[in-house]
Amino acid sequence: MTSRAAALVLGLVVAHLLLRVALGLGNEAPDLFLLAVLLGSRHLTPRSGAVLGFAVGLLEDAFSVSSFGATIFALTMLGAAGAQSRYFFVGKSMPFLVSYLALGKWLRDLLSWLVSDPATRRAFGDYLLFESPLLALYTSVVGTVIALLVLKGSGRA
């Protein structure tokens, strides 16, 4: 991982904590933890990507009462998959980056929904077919702008 990519991951994690924990913003703030995992894992091996996802997921789940571990699992899977994806997609193009981040966000919501407590999770259709795609679009736009600004010239998104 380049120093620029490492700084990006750290910056996204801190910014997410500032927005969502310190300021208490909800979905108004983009899912910067997810962007940290998706963008950071592209510069890591699958094992390190999974570890990054695990660590970030642990921070996210620290305040969860009834579905502890759901985000840890989702981000670990995405960290490993994101690192593996670099062997198949070089990922310098804008269409790839947008679809990679949007699909990553939707998969993150799907994976955490699958392993979360059935008694407390929301209806599949409303959450994963309506709300989640909108959030995925929002996250991918923000992530693409950040990646283009910070990782320009690094060779990988």
Binding site: V21, F54, D61, F63, G69, A70, T76
Partner: protein, 290 residues
């Protein structure tokens, strides 16, 4: 596989096995018993996340201090007027209870505290209160505001606790109408969007027809919630089981997202000295209910 630092099949296999191992470990965290999960989460909250929770508390305190002084003064005047008008009520109530050979009501004391909500995923109906076992808070204590019932404490640590508000799917409270005639169970019903979440009073007698606007209070059954805390008002019929019972939608008296300060109800023994000792706020900036 190109791109790995230790290129070759051995390196890639080792990487994949390592990744699978971490994924399996993450699955283990999902299915751990509640106690280890709480312990892990507590360590994270008290280490990495501590500066951010402290910053949140600081900002909440600043916002509270910036509130309009005139509004707070008006609220205090209203409370003083209420107390003055009901000064003799407690004594009359005691005498009537003696005449009717009724026992004393369970005493409750209020512990003012500040509320913190994070925007992290999976915490939509969860909030943190700045008081824990050190201040006498225990699991299942009620959290109330001056408008009514907010939620219930779930996980308690030494100096803070995690609680759920009424919109959490696991929230339940036994309820009654303000005249004490009709009883039932209040539970949340999720809307398609979080803004559409509302409460339903179920199990009400079929023959009892509640008018919209009827006030609904906690009944105190089960002992988790003190009796007489406002929950909301009947909004309309939700469901009718012919000949058996009716369910009603209830408009909540408290909207959780707007609450920054609340009070935790702590049951005390009737003859305890605590019942006459004023409680120090857990948070200096906290404002309790009247």
């Amino acid at each position: 596989m190109a791109g790995l630092s230790g290129s070759g099949n051995e390196g890639s296999r080792s990487q994949l096995l390592g990744a699978v191992g971490v994924v399996l470990l993450s699955l283990v965290t999902v299915y751990l018993p509640s106690a280890p999960q709480q312990a892990i989460a507590h360590v994270v909250r008290q280490s990495v996340l501590m500066p951010f929770t402290e910053l949140h508390a600081f900002l909440a305190g600043m916002r509270a201090r910036a509130r309009d002084f005139d509004i707070l003064r008006a609220q205090m005047d209203s409370a003083m007027g209420f107390v003055a008008a009901h000064a003799t009520l407690a004594e009359e109530n005691r005498q009537l209870r003696e005449i009717l050979l009724l026992g004393q009501r369970q005493s409750v004391r209020y512990l003012p505290t500040s509320i913190m909500r994070t925007g992290t995923s999976g915490t939509g109906s969860v909030f943190r209160v700045a008081a824990g076992t050190g201040q006498g808070v225990g699991p299942f204590n009620a959290v109330v505001t001056d408008h009514g019932l907010l939620g219930q404490v779930q996980q308690v640590q030494t100096d803070y606790a995690l609680a759920i508000d009424w919109s959490h799917p696991e929230f339940r409270v036994s309820a009654m109408t303000s005249d004490g005639e009709n009883h039932g169970i209040i539970e949340p019903v999720r809307g398609r969007f979080r803004e559409q979440d509302r409460l339903v009073l179920s199990g009400v007698d079929f023959l009892a027809e509640l008018e919209p606007g009827t006030e609904v209070l906690t009944s105190g059954r089960g002992g988790a919630f003190p009796r007489g805390v406002r929950i909301g008002w009947v909004a309309g019929v939700s469901e009718t089981l012919a000949g058996w019972s009716r369910s009603y939608y209830v408009t909540p008296s408290v909207y959780p997202g707007a609450v920054t300060h609340a009070a935790i109800t702590l049951p005390v023994a009737t003859d305890s000295v605590d019942s006459v000792t004023p409680e120090a706020p857990a948070d200096p900036g906290a404002q309790g209910p009247p």
